[in-house]
Symmetry: C2
Subunit: 255 residues, 2 copies
Amino acid sequence: MDATEPAAPGVKSATRTVALLDFFARQGGMYSLTEIQQELGYPKSSLYALLRTLVQLGWVETDPTGTLYRIGMRALLVGASYIDGDPVVGMAHEVLDWLAEATGETVHFGRLDDYDVVYLSSRPSRHNLRPVIRVGRRVPAHSTSLGKSLLADRPDPVLRAELERQTEHTITDHDALRAELRRVRERGHAIDREENTPGVCCVGVALRLQRPARDAISVSVPAIRLDDAREREISALLLQARERIEYAAYHLIHP
Amino acid sequence: MDATEPAAPGVKSATRTVALLDFFARQGGMYSLTEIQQELGYPKSSLYALLRTLVQLGWVETDPTGTLYRIGMRALLVGASYIDGDPVVGMAHEVLDWLAEATGETVHFGRLDDYDVVYLSSRPSRHNLRPVIRVGRRVPAHSTSLGKSLLADRPDPVLRAELERQTEHTITDHDALRAELRRVRERGHAIDREENTPGVCCVGVALRLQRPARDAISVSVPAIRLDDAREREISALLLQARERIEYAAYHLIHP
DNA sequence: AACCAGTGTTCGCATATATGAACAAGACTT
DNA sequence: AAGTCTTGTTCATATATGCGAACACTGGTT
């Protein structure tokens, strides 16, 4: 009854084309035909034809000898456009600016994709200018406040069989996670206490723009700085930010 | 003898798959099957099968009715990885930080791709925090200092038949551009005087990491602030930054 | 110098895809 | 409310692709 992976194949070479791009995206580096074949399992000759096609089109690049492949520049352009074209991200823009200003901390906007959260927008805190999380990065949902706030909004959240451990505080037990999600629902916001990155805590709330919620916002704080009072402050500001985004979205849909 | 567009077809459905992604990336928005078919020219039924496949895989999304298509989240991840996996961008990181600090202006790192420059990394100036140019953005080479510095490094630069006008100062004449590239070679750095964006001037130099050069760095300055003295200052800093990147690259290749 | 992995590349046939036309389903007109 | 567009969906067959095995290279080893 697992409907995720072994779904209907569709157009085979299209599937393989994006599987290739996905492979390069995840691994990031240069790979020989044989390595790719071992990883993806498709026949060599099929991959060979696909890779040559993609190289020709600039979606894959080769080293000077032509035997090592990596992702090409054409692929870069595609990613940026997802965010540009997304109405929700665009709408949340100003509110995120406001939230970053109000909290003085790092602010993230993320979206649930299967078992993971994908970061779509962020604002670095005043303290560390280079954000740890890069836009486009994919992180397991169960280890982040963004992810937990989104999972908590689903009656029966879909979880990976193996809850990958990120730090010593990551919740890796299914029952413990379900209990945690219940607490998130009661409390109204999710908290990640160094469950994804050592020394970093996050507070997150889901945006109720669709049912179940798909997008969420969070504030990241150095663990040392997050006491109960600070948590209350931040969650209050997060709820305010959520109101503003949901309000703006409402008026976008009903002009 | 035009070897750019009508090249060997390769795997047809792979070509169409990336053509679809490219289409969504450029246009950014939601499109019906018919609109896509009109734009790309492929048969409807072929596109239909491809789109369904891509939707299934998360590379394309549909609106609730299932008839309007847009780029999907999976595509986002691919883009980010191009930059992560690129050794040159990684290496240039610190030098760009230094250059941004030394000049106090917006700094860009770009790469030539056919007729365009693709921005791979940038540092916002102290003055306007939100950079005008987004990573992954594609801009005609002939209208930017980055592009001109790179074109000047090729004995016979390949130019688009029609040099697209960006502002009233854009060089749109082939002979004028060739003369300008000659000046760039003599001078050692390229200048864009509001040729791409009104009110913005850029100074750029090509990085000689391969022949012909593929990567370049530039500094953007509000037009009002760029007098001769400032230009000399900035070009000197750029040349220093170039030295440092080339030096680092040399030691990366010959450890 | 010949051998021997380990790879990348090509080839002929079985299979999957692309095609244009026919069909279905809405949306708008009259 | 029927008719007429327009657009999405399905279908049968010509065509392109995927497959495994054979071939060609390359670098390293004996």
